[in-house]
């Protein structure tokens, strides 16, 4: 069985190689090849999953060692895979949702002349993400980690002729690289501390290690997670990443990329458990981001950017849960999976809306679309209900558990975190209701002469329906007998948190804030018509529209500062370093020019010099003798 693991990664990788090197011959069949290989990977995952379910919880983990990758001295990195329950969960999510997005893209990208290449990149994305979750050591994970960054770079900048897309792609890659530095330092620290960076030995040895080192490793891993999962302070790339085609956004936000940070922290649970300070940092980052993203999501008029803010916020929930330790890991992953369903559904729905609206993204030019695209409306609506945590749907189960776990952290911290999570839930309900109302309800704010909204083709609607089904039922299914938690328990371990609030109280509170948030949105956007031009808004609204001024800060401090620094250095290199060299040359040249004057060519001047020289020699001889 374990020999199948490599096949998971290999299938999409072969697809990427075929499609990217195949040339024009594959233009007509390219999208089918890409989709087929993604589905094939899912099929292999399903087989492995079935096999895994047949075993007892203790020996479900599979291991496949391919070959020794980098052996230098004590440094040994292997190309080896590890498939345990945690990886399996991710693999199913990635290949499953990934395949659906592939199918969707067949329709969405139908008129793009570079569709073959698009599918090549999608396959590369899947392969990199699978490598990330299947690696059995941190260095191989790092390969997948950066591979995901590369694939996202290629996909975000897919429409390269648009300068904004090229810039957004570059920004995503650069911000991610900052996080990658964290991961690489973490790996170096592991190597110097443990002499290895394979999951097994490192995570087993955390007990014997000083807390300081573990805290350092944990903080570096957190930095990495911040980059990839778009957490404060490295979240700025996520909004710009909406420049890519919509299926890419769905892929980045639901199945791959941003979930990587949560995976990393959960996988490294043993390190964080032994380093409470690092854990605290994780929790703080998660809590801050979940509010940050939610606030940004409220102010955006671009439907994709509003959803991007929402992703940031939801990932914040997951990071928060992962930072809570064994009481939260399983819930983080559970929320990740349910989020994978409904966020993919929402993005595909948004793509479907854009598809029917001539690629218009401004929600102020939507309105009343429910009659024109019923399937999109229903699937999007189900996704909406799931994300706000409507009782009975997926998001309700997973988010509720995280809020409960946050309260269970205990003490003042618990109250603050729980409060933040509840507040986040209220804002989530607000902005998602706003998106819903502005898009599908109210009056038409578009010109019927120019725009002809229509339902999308089957290749696009079917994935949306499948995802909507998942959004509705996944959470409930996972919660039967705590199935999901006990499935993950051998890997992530699990403790029951003791919340100061009873479970019923938490659930009631969640439902109340949900109603408040949604009601507020209805008051503002449902009851009265939405203005076609955005009002000026309060100071907070304006700041939130600009991503809470984070880009402005980056621009002033990093971009401007960097430009000045490089310009100064270029100048100094020319004038100072090279100037010293050229100065030496010039001095020598000048000196020789002076000396040349002595060689006048006139016999008598030479005669004087000779006489003078002879006189000096004689005088010197006499003087020397005198001494």
């Amino acid at each position: 069985m374990e020999n199948l693991i490599a096949l998971l990664v290999a299938a999409p990788l072969v697809g990427a190689a075929l499609l990217l090197c195949g040339g024009k011959r594959l233009d007509r069949a390219g999208h089918w090849i890409g989709t087929l290989l993604a589905v094939a990977s899912f099929a292999v995952a399903a087989v492995l999953f079935a096999d895994m379910l047949g075993k007892s919880a203790g020996d479900r983990a599979l291991h496949q060692h391919l070959f020794s990758w980098i052996p230098v001295g004590g440094f040994r990195a292997d190309l080896a895979f590890q498939l345990d329950q945690l990886s399996m969960t991710f693999v199913l999510l990635i290949t499953g949702v990934g395949s659906l997005i592939h199918i969707y893209s067949i329709g969405y990208m139908e008129h793009d002349e570079r569709r073959r290449r698009f599918f090549g990149y999608l396959n590369l994305f899947l392969a990199a993400m699978l490598l990330l979750v299947l690696a059995d050591n941190y260095l191989l994970l790092y390969v997948g980690w950066e591979g995901v960054g590369l694939a996202s770079y290629l996909l975000i900048g897919f429409w390269q002729h648009k300068p904004s897309a090229a810039t957004a792609a570059k920004k995503a890659f650069l911000v991610n690289r900052v996080g990658d530095v964290g991961l690489s330092i973490a790996i170096m620290l592991m190597f110097t501390t443990f002499g290895t960076f394979a999951f097994g030995p490192v995570l087993a040895a955390t007990g014997d290690t000083g807390e300081g080192k573990l805290t350092a490793i944990g903080l570096m891993l957190l930095l990495a997670a911040c980059g990839k999962s778009a957490q404060v302070p490295l979240q700025s790339w996520l909004g710009d990443a909406m420049e890519g085609p919509t299926p890419v956004s769905a892929l980045i936000h639901a199945a791959t990329m941003v979930t990587a940070g949560v995976y990393l922290i959960t996988r490294s649970g043993a390190i964080f458990n032994a380093a409470p300070d690092a854990q605290m940092a994780v929790v703080v980052v998660g809590a801050v981001t979940l509010l940050f993203g939610a606030i940004v999501g409220c102010a955006k008029d671009d439907i994709k950017k509003a959803l991007a803010g929402s992703t940031m916020s939801q990932i914040g929930y997951m990071i928060l849960a992962a930072g809570l330790g064994p009481i939260g890991y399983a819930f983080a992953i559970m929320h990740l999976v349910t989020h994978g369903f409904f966020k993919a559904g929402l993005f595909l729905g948004a793509g479907s809306v854009m598809h029917g609206m001539n690629d218009e993204v401004d929600m102020r030019r939507y309105g009343g679309l429910r009659r024109y695209m019923p399937v999109t409306f229903i699937t999007f609506g189900l996704g909406y209900l799931a994300i706000i945590g409507f009782p009975g749907l997926s998001g309700f189960f997973s988010k509720d558990k995280i809020i409960e776990a946050a309260f269970a952290k205990g003490g003042t911290e618990g109250w603050i975190l729980g409060g933040a999570a509840l507040l986040g839930a209220a804002i989530t309900a607000f902005y998602m209701t706003r998106v819903m109302l502005m898009t599908f309800f109210g009056e038409k704010r578009w010109d019927p002469q120019e725009v002809h909204p229509h339902e999308s083709p089957k290749t696009m609607t079917i994935p949306m329906i499948v995802l909507a089904v998942g959004s509705v039922f996944a959470g409930g299914l996972f919660s039967i007998n705590d199935a999901f938690v006990s499935w993950l328990e051998p890997v992530t371990s699990f403790e029951h948190g003791h919340s100061p609030l009873s479970a019923t109280a938490t659930t009631t509170a969640t439902i109340v804030v949900l109603l408040v948030g949604a009601g507020l949105a209805w008051l503002m956007y449902g009851r009265k018509p939405v203005p076609a031009v955005a009002p000026r808004g309060s100071l907070l609204t304006r700041a939130a529209r600009r991503d809470l001024l984070q880009d402005d800060f980056n621009h002033v401090v990093l971009v401007r500062g960097g430009e000045h620094l490089t310009r100064t250095l270029v100048y100094l290199d020319h004038s100072l370093v090279d100037g010293a060299v050229n100065g030496t040359a010039a001095t020598m040249g000048g000196l020789s020019g002076r000396l040349r004057q002595l060689q006048s060519g006139f016999v008598r001047s030479y005669a004087v010099q000779m006489l003078g020289g002879a006189a000096v020699l004689v005088a010197a001889t006499l003087l020397m003798r005198g001494v």
């Binding site: 020794s68 440094f75 390269q160 002729h161 170096m188 999951f199 097994g200 014997d208």
Partner: protein
């Protein structure tokens, strides 16, 4: 006596150089083919060396040849290779055919000039390339310090003519200005390297004097000196050793180049044609870093340890400085040159971190940097020859017009920024780990270059390849077959060595261990002893061993 394989590998390109140069002016195409076939023959010989070489066999050097040469001064014709040399000879022999192919039309006479019987630039161009190859190969093989010095210096002559004599016709201010800048660059290259070489000559003579004084008979032989040292017959004394070390190191630091001795490189690489730029940075400069490993550290271990802190700081400055300056460049080739300075900083960092990961990584880095820079620079050359400009601002939207060119350029760029999966990642990470395990702060600061590298590569790619298509670029043809033949194997190799670098590491590891044993340094021990279990591939003994460094 067995077949003198090492000599043959150096002689074949030398003969090729003579043969190419001797062809009459009219046989221009024939000259190209002659040069190409000789370079391919050299590559075959290099492969034979790699096959005949047994990694981990006894003794530091293999396939040795030794003949008396200038008996009065103890100069011997001594050749021998260790794993590091084998890897670099293979790299050199591999790159030269690509350099020749890429420069196929670089030395064609301009159409308006009438064929001249005596001036034969085409023959000269390819003959000079082969001459450089011969000298570089023998520098990698020489185990006699004097022999090494001879060819280390002699290769400046053909390089001087290659830089000064051939331009890419893409200067900003017309051909006349370009010729002036070219000769400036060539003279700068020559003077810099001569200055370094002369100081080294003094140190070479000093070394001879010291050995003559203490061993009875003076010698230049590296194995003999190392052996005498180990046996305690030779004791240089701290002051002498440091001076001699500095003399050697200065020459190699100029060649490598290390900050602040780097300013010749951007000029030389910017003004010369891109195949010559590849020759400079991927082949000739490697002799400098290679010689640090082979001569500086092995001849003067104590002085090397003494100088390590300063050298590490300079290397760290190189890493960041080169990267920052690359960000600020307007000229594609100068950008790549500054990126190379940053990479050479990494190599030197790895060498002087004195860990097996650092030095092994540095050696891998030399090979990988050679391949990746060759890929990036040659594609940049193809790009520049199409538009006739080196300025980044003159391009835009090339991706739309020439997707294959843009794709290969991107892969070359990604290799330059050390993307995992491509070969340079392996070496860069090893260097960083090797540095970090002994000098954590330097390792962390050097990691910042990971971000800077992404910045300069992606900015370059964005400005040249993406965005709206510029009018001047609209008619640009995609890569031709000859150009694809040059780039595709390099990219394949980058991928292969990124995924499976084991052949290279197996070759290099024993040589690195030998070097470290000469310096008497061991890898720092991890804080926690971990019994490796996963996969059963990690031998537990890796963490054993007393380490004097860790004790301090």
């Amino acid at each position: 006596m067995s077949f003198p394989l090492l000599t043959a590998t150096a002689v074949v390109p030398a003969v090729g150089a003579v043969a190419t140069a001797a062809l009459p002016a009219a046989k221009r195409t024939a000259a190209k083919w002659v040069a190409l076939s000789f370079s391919l023959a050299t590559f075959v010989l290099a492969l034979v060396i790699a096959i005949r070489f047994t990694p981990g066999a006894k003794g530091p050097f293999q396939l040795t040849e030794s003949h008396a040469w200038i008996a009065d001064f103890g100069v011997r014709y001594e050749l021998g290779v260790d794993g590091i040399a084998v890897a670099l000879i293979a790299l050199t022999a591999l790159l030269i055919p690509f350099v020749i192919l890429a420069g196929w039309h670089d030395a064609d006479p301009l159409e308006e000039t009438r064929p001249n019987r005596r001036w034969r630039p085409t023959q000269g161009f390819f003959a000079l390339i082969l001459a450089v190859e011969a000298m570089v190969v023998i520098s990698f093989e020489a185990t006699d310090v004097f022999l090494f010095y001879l060819f280390f210096e002699a290769m400046l002559i053909p390089m001087y003519f290659l830089i000064g004599g051939f331009g890419d016709g893409a200067g900003e201010h017309g051909e006349e200005q370009a010729a002036t800048q070219r000769s400036y660059a060539a003279v700068k290259f020559l003077l810099y390297n001569l200055a370094g070489g002369l100081i080294m000559l003094a140190a070479v003579i000093g070394l001879y004097a010291a050995t003559a004084d203490q061993l009875g008979a003076g010698t230049f032989s590296l194995p003999q000196i190392v052996e005498a040292r180990a046996a305690g017959h030779l004791h240089l004394g701290a002051g002498t050793e440091r001076l001699l070390f500095l003399g050697f190191f200065f020459a190699f630091a100029v060649k490598a180049p290390l900050w602040p001795l780097h300013t010749w490189l951007p000029n030389a690489m910017g003004e010369s044609t891109s195949p010559v730029a590849v020759l400079i940075t991927a082949v000739v400069d490697k002799v400098g870093t290679f010689a640090m490993l082979r001569f500086c550290i092995q001849l003067f271990p104590e002085a090397s340890k003494w100088a390590t802190p300063v050298i590490l700081i300079l290397a760290l400055i190189s890493v960041l400085y080169g990267a920052l300056l690359a960000v600020g460049q307007r000229d594609i080739k100068r950008l790549i040159a500054y990126a190379s300075i940053s990479h050479f900083g990494f190599i030197i960092l790895g060498i002087f971190a004195m860990t097996s990961q650092g030095q092994g990584g540095a050696t891998l880095y030399m090979v990988n940097h050679g391949i990746s820079t060759a890929a990036l620079m040659l594609v940049a050359g193809f790009l520049i020859s199409r538009r006739g400009s080196r300025l980044i601002a003159d391009y835009g939207g090339v991706q739309k017009v020439a997707p294959v060119l843009a794709g290969t350029f991107l892969i070359g760029g990604l290799a330059t920024l050390s993307l995992p999966g491509l070969a340079p990642f392996v070496s860069e990470f090893l260097v960083l780990v090797g540095t970090f395990s002994r000098y954590p702060v330097i390792g962390i600061i050097a990691s910042a270059a990971i971000v800077l590298a992404a910045l300069y590569v992606l900015v370059l790619y964005q400005r040249t390849m993406t965005g709206p298509v510029k009018a001047e670029v609209r008619k640009m043809p995609d890569l031709r077959v000859r150009e694809l033949v040059v780039v595709a194997p390099l990219i394949a190799l980058l991928l292969f060595l990124g995924v499976y670098p084991k052949p290279l590491t197996d070759l290099v590891n024993p040589a690195v261990e030998h070097t470290l044993s000469v310096v008497d340094k061991q890898d720092p021990k991890p804080d926690v002893h971990v019994d490796a279990t996963t996969g059963g591939s990690r031998p537990g003994h890796a963490t054993h061993g007393d380490d004097a460094e860790a004790a301090k």
